[in-house]
């Protein structure tokens, strides 16, 4: 038998080198790389256009002198590498050129609408996260350990169906139900909270269904863990067990997917703004593409792409703050 009097020797080195600097450096590098790719792609939009983009934009009836003048204004008569450097310079100084169609400054167009889009994305994201966590945890808790099998079966079928339905279909359906049939909520425009409800629902219903499936599986796994048993042994309230002990442990997975979903939400916003005729970046970019207004189209796409990248970085950092273990796994 081992001597019972030996002092405890199983202490782990308390001070470990912080994994944060390396982590931040890696993520910043990835962000930088992403931004280079986005800017280059946006720059290339106008150059990859088959034929003469200016001619296409101004139409076949525009006089040659006007086309040439516009070409010079866009700098298209200069060598490609000069244009590329110039583009970078402009992007970094916030100069996105002027619209070919409306002759407004692109930065003016964007700043007038970016708030609208950002609000819609933010509300949709909040709705998605809250909806998915409540639904996923709820179903997991109610069907835990083989209880209410019918609920689980029904949920699975409904969730996988709802997950596949695209946002514009939800948009149309919501318009039909709430605006046409019951006339409860406004269908179009931008007029405070009431006009936000239907668009954000249209955007988030599908993601709620999809994300809640992940939350449910995660919850089921977490509920089976010994630390939940341990929390139960302390006779905490159900609210505390689910909210304080289970939630943080499934939040990492939910937020990781939620972060990935944010890109999808941004894309959905583009579509849904058109369904509900909301003035935002989405409706702007679609009109710009149809009108071949390249400076506007490329700038808005650049902005949306950049936003997705920055948001991904923020999500990554937030996750690591929330769950320090992911830092170690990451390195």
């Amino acid at each position: 038998m081992v001597a019972l009097t030996a002092p405890p020797t199983d202490s782990v080195a308390v001070r470990r080198r912080s994994p944060w600097p390396a982590f931040i450096a890696r993520r910043l590098f990835r962000l930088l790389l992403g931004i280079v790719v986005v800017v280059t792609l946006a720059f290339l939009v106008i150059h990859l256009v088959p034929g003469d983009p200016v001619r296409l934009a101004l139409g076949p009836t525009a006089p040659v002198s006007q086309v040439n003048e516009k070409r010079a204004e866009l700098g298209l008569d200069q060598p490609l590498q000069v244009q590329y450097l110039h583009y970078w310079q402009n992007v970094l100084t916030g100069d996105f050129g002027t619209s070919i169609v409306s002759r407004q400054k692109v930065s003016t167009i964007i700043s007038a609408r970016v708030g609208n889009t950002a609000t819609l994305v933010a509300v949709s994201l909040a709705l998605t996260l809250i909806g998915a966590v409540v639904l996923g945890m709820g179903v997991a808790a109610l069907s835990y350990r083989g209880r209410r099998r019918w609920l689980l079966a029904a949920y699975r079928f409904v969730a996988s169906t709802l997950n596949v339905i695209p946002e514009y279909v939800y948009g149309v359906a919501l318009v039909y139900v709430f605006a046409v049939t019951f006339a409860l909520l406004p269908v179009a425009g931008d007029d405070g909270l009431s006009t936000l409800i239907l668009p954000s629902l249209a955007i988030s219903l599908g993601p709620i269904a999809g994300l809640s499936r992940i939350v449910r599986v995660q919850t089921e796994e977490v509920l089976g863990q010994e630390y939940i048993q341990a929390a139960r042994s302390k006779r905490l309230s159900a609210l505390r067990i689910y909210g304080r002990h289970a939630l943080p442990n499934l939040l990492t997975a939910a937020l990781t997917i939620g972060g990935l979903l944010l890109g999808v939400l941004v894309a959905s916003t583009v579509v849904v703004e058109n369904v509900f005729a909301r003035p935002g970046l989405g409706s702007t970019v679609v009109t710009a593409i149809v009108q071949r207004d390249y400076p506007v189209a490329q700038s808005v796409l650049l902005l949306l792409g950049g936003a997705v990248l920055v948001v991904n970085l923020v999500v990554d950092v937030a996750l690591s703050l929330l769950d320090p273990r992911s830092l170690i796994k990451d390195s």
Binding site: P166, Q225, R244, H245, V270, L322
Partner: protein
């Protein structure tokens, strides 16, 4: 866990829908084309009727016919886009596996970066270059599918490449390209095809979205998305014009996506049996230390005489636990634990000891049926189903230490906070004060630098330290009983000793009774004063530890002890085991559950389950033929079997 969905039905529905879609895309235009183009201004915006199921549009054309007739274009565009996405994705994914490490890394980084972008943005980018129209839409959606498909292919290929047959092919000198073609691709073909099916669904929905936005098919041509755009513009006048194409898009999108999912589930389900089913046949192999030391220790323990007059801290009579499906892990168990007592609960895996421990702690969840005749804890009578009313009692006076310390502390909460929680909840103490108490408890269980440690997360603790923290957590209340479910099994030997020593100190200093669940006879002998032996859900013997090695009366207890190899056991001989296997808990015999494996079993044993009754002193046994001769149990009492 796997609740079965009627997959057969889902699959059938998917296949039927796919057949319908195929039919429409071939025959939709020939059948409905003329009708779809028939202009009748007198019928403009006509409501749904027997003649026009979904009404008519602004030019009086039949909406239903238009939706049917445009199936072909919608499906065709989706197939084209999916072909671009899947083809490109597989090419890039396979390329990654075939190319050298440099290009592999480069491609991987490019894919990771492009995966960050939502597909629709990529599609819009391509659309911006190529201009609004079907060409831009198809190529845009196709290109957007390339990165996810490339990543999927690469992941599949990498896992297939890690398999042994690929390693064998490599050893034989088969080239990378050849390996890919002959060994990897055929093996990943099925999941790839199923995902391609889902890609068609995604393409269909995305291209419809672009057409809907006015970036895809341009009038006068029309596909579902374009029809939907028109329908939405006129939704107030004529909702069916919007609902019709919506139904088409949703059904087609669903059919492809659900088909991919339903058949993929089938595949992963076939892998399940290999994961489950180790069964109850697990054997008990316990080890014992030096017998001399042990007896010395035991006799010392016995001097901790506890006055019999003191009321039991826990008195349970007729405890039963049933799981759905007729399994009875705990049958008619009666236990009494006196204050300050150290009691062991031993038995094979599957004998129900952990379930019993949880039932005694009132921690079994609603999925099991728990019932008892009497349950008295710390002088409070708890009736079945009223556990929730005694939250503070159980929360403060009953502590539980679980088996796996790596898992019993919440990884997302700082250790100090987890400990402090109990005081906050049950004593209404403030955050700061309860945290200070937690630090004190951590110090009590000899965790060095408790102030620093309290602010750390469990993953910064070692295994032994976590188990000590769990014990500290139990001490945050004023426990009268500490239930420890195999608290040392997951720890290495030196750490085991410290944890047991700590439990003993806690027991001696605070007078907390300890119920130790274990299958390690050496731990039991050194730690406990009384042993409860469990077999097939019942306590079959209740014996003072001092008598265990010489006075065990139940044949099962004797067999257990005999099966414990000691330091003198010849290593050349096979280890002694108990012949036979424990009975299935859902199909128990009428008589004694051990009769099947018992050398002494007779007719009475097979027809009548023996009750737990007094044999000598305080020793209880449930056996028709208790062994009452006090001779040391020989190590060869039971013939070794080779199972």
């Amino acid at each position: 866990m796997a609740v079965r969905r009627p997959r057969g039905a889902t699959q059938l529905v998917c296949v039927l829908l796919l057949v319908l879609i195929a039919f429409l895309s071939v025959f939709g235009d020939p059948i409905w084309g003329d009708r779809a183009r028939e202009i009748d201004p007198g019928q403009a915006f006509g409501p749904a009727s027997a003649e026009h199921w979904w009404g008519t549009d602004d030019l009086g054309r039949d909406v239903f016919a238009r939706v049917m007739a445009s199936s072909q274009l919608s499906i065709k565009l989706a197939l084209l886009a999916a072909a671009i996405g899947v083809g490109g994705g597989v090419l890039v994914g396979v390329g990654q596996a075939v190319l050298g490490p440099f290009f592999r890394r480069l491609l991987s980084t490019v894919i990771t970066v492009s995966l960050a972008f939502p597909g629709l943005l990529l599609a819009l980018l391509v659309n911006a270059v190529l201009g609004a129209g079907p060409r831009g839409a198809v190529i845009g959606v196709g290109v957007a599918l390339v990165p996810p498909f490339a990543r999927f292919t690469q992941t599949l290929a990498a896992s297939a490449a890690a398999s042994e047959y690929v390693a064998a092919a490599r050893v034989l000198g088969v080239g990378r390209l050849e390996t890919m073609r002959r060994h990897i691709l055929p093996n990943i073909a099925k999941p790839l095809m199923l995902t391609a099916l889902m890609a068609i669904g995604t393409s269909l929905v995305s291209i419809s979205a672009l057409s809907f936005l006015g970036l895809g098919i341009q009038p006068p041509r029309y596909d579902w998305g374009q029809l939907l755009q028109f329908g939405l513009q006129n939704i107030y006048v004529h909702p069916m014009a919007a609902i019709g194409p919506t139904i088409a898009i949703v059904l087609a999108g669903l059919a492809f996506n659900l088909a991919g999912e339903a058949f993929a589930d089938e595949r992963s389900r076939s892998m399940l049996p290999s994961l489950a089913g180790t069964g109850l046949a697990e054997r008990l192999v316990a080890k014992v230390g030096h017998p001399g030391d042990v007896t010395a220790q035991v006799s010392h323990d016995d001097t901790d005489a506890i006055p019999d007059s003191e009321p039991a801290v826990l008195r349970v009579k007729g405890l039963r636990v049933g799981y759905p499906g007729g399994v009875q892990p705990v049958r008619d168990v009666s236990i009494e634990i006196r204050p300050g007592e150290r009691v062991a609960l031993v038995g094979e895996s599957g004998s129900g000891k952990s379930t019993l421990a949880l039932a005694l702690a009132c921690l079994l969840d609603g999925s099991s049926a728990v019932d008892w005749e009497q349950f008295e804890f710390d002088g409070v009578d708890v009736s079945p189903g009223s556990e929730a009313e005694h939250r503070t009692l159980f929360g403060t006076k009953l502590a539980v230490v679980f088996q796996d310390p790596t898992n019993s502390l919440n990884p997302a909460i700082r250790v100090g906070r987890q400990l402090a929680e109990l005081r906050q909840v049950h004593y209404g103490v403030g955050r700061r004060e309860s945290l200070a108490a937690a630090v004190e408890r951590l110090r009590d269980v000899q965790i060095p630098g408790p102030e620093v440690r309290a602010a750390q997360y469990p993953h910064e603790f070692s295994g032994g330290m976590r188990q000590r923290a769990m014990i500290a957590s139990g001490l945050m209340g004023t426990p009268r009983l500490l239930v420890a479910d195999e608290p040392t099994t997951a720890l290495d030997v030196t750490v085991q000793a410290h944890v047991l020593q700590l439990l003993k100190r806690v027991n001696e200093e605070t007078g907390t009774a300890v119920l130790l669940i274990s299958h390690d006879i050496s731990v039991v002998l050194s730690f406990c004063s009384r042993v409860l032996v469990m077999y097939a859900g019942r306590v079959v013997e209740d014996i003072p530890t001092a008598d265990l090695l010489t006075g065990a009366a139940h044949p099962y207890t004797r067999a257990l002890i005999a099966a414990v190899p000691d330091i003198d056991t010849m290593t050349s001989k096979p280890l002694a085991t108990i012949p036979g296997t424990p009975p299935n808990l859902d199909d128990l015999p009428i008589g004694c559950a051990f009769a099947e494996r018992c050398p002494l079993a007779d007719e009475q044993c097979r027809s009548e389950d023996p009750a737990l009754s007094l044999v000598r002193g305080t020793q209880l046994v449930a056996c028709h033929h208790p062994q009452t001769d006090r001779t040391p149990i020989p190590q060869t009492a039971v013939p070794a079997s080779a199972s």
